[in-house]
């Protein structure tokens, strides 16, 4: 397999140049001040709904705060899985050329999680728990486990980075929210470049030896995973914090309703990342 060793070395040098102390990178005020936006209003799950029309701008800002906490919580749980999965693959025989860069990935993702956790703990007093179950599998096809792991990381990073860029640019947002998104994007662009190349290499290496049925199912799983990432942006725990009744019913209605423009754009970004890696649009009823 042609592993992206030269790319890993280039990114490694860039990471060394951009190295920073996470404790110094962000200034944490004692409190956040008055009402403010933390997510762009158009990105909020209830934007345009009857709830939105019946409530005040101050309540919309409050929703943006809790949805930002949910976004950061998603990041924390995603990066925990990433760090765990990368750590188990350090110096793996299947990935011999990129281990040094994997060390850097772990370091940078850990720094991000420190920021996310600090914001959630300091200003919200909570990190929302994940709404997922990790189920072990023992029926992987050859190369599938690494491919599924790195492709899911790529999808996760595409999603959060697209949001990071939009949120960092939005001048309506609280400066701290913009800064966290800006700093996260600075590292994520390197991680995505690495992930994109590695996933393409893994797909090229392994998919040729799989039966067409396996190829369809793996591709389907990955497209389904992208859809579940979008679902995670809608969390009943957010609505509970807002004092909204029947939170699960509302979340289901949001997910069953017309997709918001921001979600369509996020899905397109993730889909493009898979297609760029050579992974076809698959059976939406994946196996995993």
């Amino acid at each position: 397999m042609k592993l992206p060793e030269s790319l890993a070395n280039t990114l490694l040098m860039q990471s060394q140049t951009a190295f920073y102390d996470p404790h110094e990178a962000v200034h944490w005020p004692d409190d956040l001040g008055g009402p403010s936006w933390y997510m762009s209003p158009e990105m909020l799950s209830l934007h345009g709904t009857s709830w939105w029309k019946e409530t005040t701008e101050q309540e919309h800002m409050q929703l943006s705060f809790w949805e930002f906490v949910n976004f950061l919580s998603m990041n924390i749980h995603g990066e925990k899985l990433l760090i765990e999965g990368i750590a188990t693959r350090l110096y793996a025989p299947s990935l011999p050329a990129v281990s040094h860069y994997l060390h850097v990935l772990i370091d940078e993702e850990n720094k991000h999680s420190m920021w996310f956790g600090t914001f959630c703990s300091r200003y919200a007093g909570t990190v929302f728990p994940p709404r997922s179950l990790s189920l072990p599998r023992n029926d992987w096809k050859e190369g599938e486990e690494d491919l599924q792991f790195f492709a899911r990381i790529l999808l996760f990073e595409e999603l959060v980075d697209t949001m990071n860029v939009a949120l960092a640019r939005d001048e309506r947002l609280h400066p701290l929210a913009r800064e966290i998104n800006r700093l996260h994007h600075r590292d994520e662009s390197r991680h995505i470049a690495f992930g994109q190349t590695l996933v393409a290499a893994l797909w090229q290496e392994h998919s040729l030896s799989w039966q067409p049925d396996t190829v369809r199912k793996v591709a389907g799983d990955l497209h389904l995973f992208a859809a579940t990432l979008l679902q995670d942006l809608v969390n009943p725990a957010v609505y509970r914090k807002m004092g909204i009744p029947q939170t699960a019913r509302l979340a289901r209605a949001v997910l069953d309703g017309q997709p918001r423009t921001s979600c369509i754009q996020l899905e397109q970004r993730m889909r493009r990342a898979l297609v760029r890696a050579g992974i076809p649009d698959g059976d939406p009823n994946g196996t995993e």
Partner: protein
């Protein structure tokens, strides 16, 4: 709320959301995770269905594979959490 009714509704949800189309038999004791009637990617949607249908909140301590092994264990979880929250 009858246990048999809860099991029936859960089985109906699993049957309509499963990607398995091989004609396998699904009952209250079918190991739905092991046999992939329900996958990890469907858990979040199942949680919303349970919370909405039975008016309950499933906290992180309930999210263990053993609670989701079969429609029967899921029904047990629903009834346990509902009893605890409704006194």
């Amino acid at each position: 709320m009858e246990r048999s009714e809860v099991e029936k509704e859960i089985l109906s949800w699993i049957s309509s959301h499963s990607s398995r189309h091989d004609g396998g038999h699904l009952s209250a004791s079918t190991p739905v995770l092991l046999e992939r009637w329900v996958t990890s990617l469907q858990i979040a949607e199942l949680l919303l269905f349970l919370e909405d249908t039975y008016d309950l909140e499933l906290t992180v301590d309930t999210l263990k594979p053993e609670n989701f092994q079969t429609a029967a264990t899921i029904a047990d979880l629903v009834l346990r959490v509902r009893d605890a929250s409704h006194g």
